[in-house]
């Protein structure tokens, strides 16, 4: 009986809309696309975070970091800097901001 209860609980939890998990899945797809140098696809995935998952404070700075990185790779330094500026302005305490300042701004 206890087992059944636990299973039901698990089903309920897994069926619930877990926003953070969605955001992580989207980020994972973006990371994979960026890793394969499919930058347009990666930016399309990251756009989902910007459009729909912006309340996820963890997902947004990470997404912005990748956007900055992708634009750096595709030789669009102004756009890359825009994303880093956004990180510094709205997520100054995020580790992704520190990483962007260190890895991306330094290289620019």
């Amino acid at each position: 009986m206890k087992m059944l209860k636990n299973s039901l609980l698990y089903l309920l939890l897994s069926a619930a809309p877990v926003f953070a998990a969605d955001a992580e899945a989207v980020l994972e797809r973006a990371r994979a696309a960026a890793g394969e140098e499919r930058y347009a696809a990666a930016l399309e995935h990251l756009a989902q975070i910007q459009a729909f998952h912006y309340r996820e404070t963890g997902a947004m700075p990470e997404a912005l970091f990748y956007i900055a990185w992708i634009y750096q790779q595709t030789k669009a330094p102004e756009r890359s800097a825009d994303a880093v500026r956004e990180l510094n302005r709205f997520y100054p305490e995020s580790r992704w901001t520190l990483k962007a300042n260190r890895d991306i701004l330094t290289e620019q």
Binding site: A40, E44, L46, A47, A51, R55
Partner: protein, 912 residues
Amino acid sequence: MCTFSLQSLSRCAPVAVAVFIFLAAAASAQDQLAPPESMATSALLKTTRSLLESRQLADAIPYLQEVVGRYSSMDGDEAVQTRATTLHQLGLCLLETGDYEQAAARLGEFVETYPQHESAPLSRFLILEAYAWQDDPAQMTQYIERLDASGGLDALLSVFGREEADVYRHAVLSLVIAYARTADFENMQRFLPYCDADARSDTGLNLALIEGGDRALDDEEYLTALYLYRTVQKTGDLLAGYNRRIEELEAELAAPPPWVPQRERDAQQAEREAEQERLVRLKAEREEMAGSNYDIDLMLRMARCFEGLNRYWPACLLYRHIYTEFPESEPAEQCRYSAFQSLAVLGEPARAIEEGTTYRAMYPDGRFRDEVSLGLMHQHLALDEEEPAARLGRELLAQTPIHRYLDQVNYLMGYIRFQQQNYDDALDFFQTAAREWPNRLYAEESIYWAGMCNLFLSRFDEAVTVFKDYLDNPAWPEKNFAEDVTYRLGMARFGLGDFAASEQTFRDFLTRFPESGLVSEACSMIGDLRGAEGDLDTAIEFYARARKTAVTSEQEAYALFQAARVYELQNEWLEIISLMETYLAERGETGELAEASLWMARAWNARGEEQKALDICCETVLRYGGNPQLASVDLLLQQLIKESGVDRGGAEYAQKVLARLADDRSAACGSEGSRVLCLRLTALFAEISPDGDDAQALLDEPSLDGFTPLPLLVRAREALRQGRPDEVDPVYDRFMEQFAGIDSAAQMANLKIRALIDAGRFGAALSLARESFETYSGYPDAGRTQKLMADALRNLKEYDAAIELYNEFLTVREWRGELTPQVIYWIGVCRAKQDRITEAFAYFQRVYVLYELYPEWMAKAYAASIDCLEKLGRQDEIVKTWREMVANPAIAATPEGQQAQQQLDRLQKEAP
């Protein structure tokens, strides 16, 4: 009452929440008030108190000011307390009545003079609020920074941790609302965490966030706007807030009112009635919220922010989300259009076409019909889909009501026709666009292209007129095409034969546009013109200038080889050699290796130094032949093959080439690191040596690694020669993968088409031939492609279509040559297949009468004509034809000639 219609957002301005410590039982206001300065102090205090209690705040202000003034010079605790309280009240009244500047000043004076007063923390908030209402973020920020530096901010914020924090809840909400409304995101964020769930779902706050966002959007502060909109609670959150507040209020009203003294009963009753009214209002607001487009409006605003930030992917996703989730909503149509536009900007033409096409299907008379259809033409063109774009353009030209952007449709149709080299039609469209809409965006461009069409149609007179009129036209003081048009005017005058005017135009061009990318070309044109006049020294000077100012390798190479031609006229062979040596030394692998080497070889030959000439070419091949990327080495090899004569190994020059390179070839083929050079030399040997083993060696190579254009062509030709057409496929694929852009790609395509025909895949052959003909239309091998296209049609038994193409072939002077008798022969075959025997016979006869240089095709034509004569019953002429065949030794040696001889022998034996 605040409305949720964001389109008509009214200012639901929250007013500062004043906590009137004097407020007690209501008192009636006095109708006639004496001037404050004339009153005794006790009367002044009583009047002031009465005005505050009756909330006549504006009237109370001068009395409060008088109290503050009188008590400023008094000592004693009671006097200090009265002055402090009055000063605070004065600040509150000023805030309530909207005099924010004075309110900030008075409250500032209060907290500075009485920092320990119990109302000081609240007053600090209210100062910020006063600044906020003044729309003065700089002062707000300064004040906060001042507080921060003095440690006052922590003290201010610490009140939220205390139990009496309730007192400040409304104050902080007001402050946050004020910051939000003025789009001061950073300061809003500082205080937002102190708003509880109820405050976060406060209608006033959320509408203020939207108002602030709109304000930032208007100021093109897209990022600030975006983050303000993102802070807005969505419908679900707001409804939860409403439900919570409604439940609490209902519970409060359902409970019996607490006991209060008799004198306060009326006030209590009034308060309960006000609460009841509030409940009704909250429920109405909840209903309105539930039925509104609030979330859609919010998403639309965010999408506009993304567009402003040039982030079209999130904008596109939001638009798609709206029309997918709310297909019946009013903005759904606009969102489909906006998604189409976003995809177009993102450079996703295929997806944009899908989006735009769906829009047109869903909203045939939609608001954005013309924008979408015009955009679709652009997107098709972005995909090089000229025909679909043209089809759509034709539809739009015939559309009723008339297309809003008909000028642009005409312009695009002109562009398409120009791309298709249909300059007559293109000219019509450009002229229409310029004539009918002279003030529209594309008028200037249309005139320029109309001139270009005339130029391409060799209507130089008209081109000169169009270009000159454009340059003299005052309609465009800042002419976008002045530079290009001046250059083209020089070209048109050149075409017209007005060389003096042409040269003067190019010289004017050099003066007016010294920084232009066309300077080199103008110099070369002047060089050409001077050269034609025999002024060779000046020509050489201009070619040198053209090389110096060249911005592309093509411009440099043109001037270089033109200079070589002038030196050739002057017999200045050493100048040519020096010029090319310098060029090759400077450009190396990036230069025109083949042509420069050939010029040097020609110069050495002219000086009687044949071995040096051969050495130059061979050294270039050996030096650069190991680099598979340098297709110009293959070009040079092809030139060596051409000069070695067509009869394999027969030419003396071929023998010299073989002798010169034999050792180098052995060395390259014996070394693992020289595969590319080995393959190239093997291909060269295969083409000029009598030994067929070299071609076989290339065909036997198990891997195509290191194969460059020439070895690939030789391998494909050998495969075809041996009847192994399937082996051409990988060779073709490899060629097109790496060398699709070079001249011999057309040859490779023709070999593949031939292979498809030989394999009986006529449909595929036709398709590839059509594609190839379009791609390589200007190449010398295009004639062969045209013939192969006709061959494919003939094999598909589409004789009329085949004949049409064969006839088109015959009209092009440049294609005349070895293929001409073949084409005429095949027309005859087509007519014979159609049982039009007399016509067929005439074609065969034409071949053997006119093309004696091609005995193979003469023999075939003779044989085919004999078939015709049989069908026509003209037996006597058959014998005559056999005799004619055997009388020509070249024909007699062919299989058809031998068969003719056998027939004659048979007749002789049968003769009595």
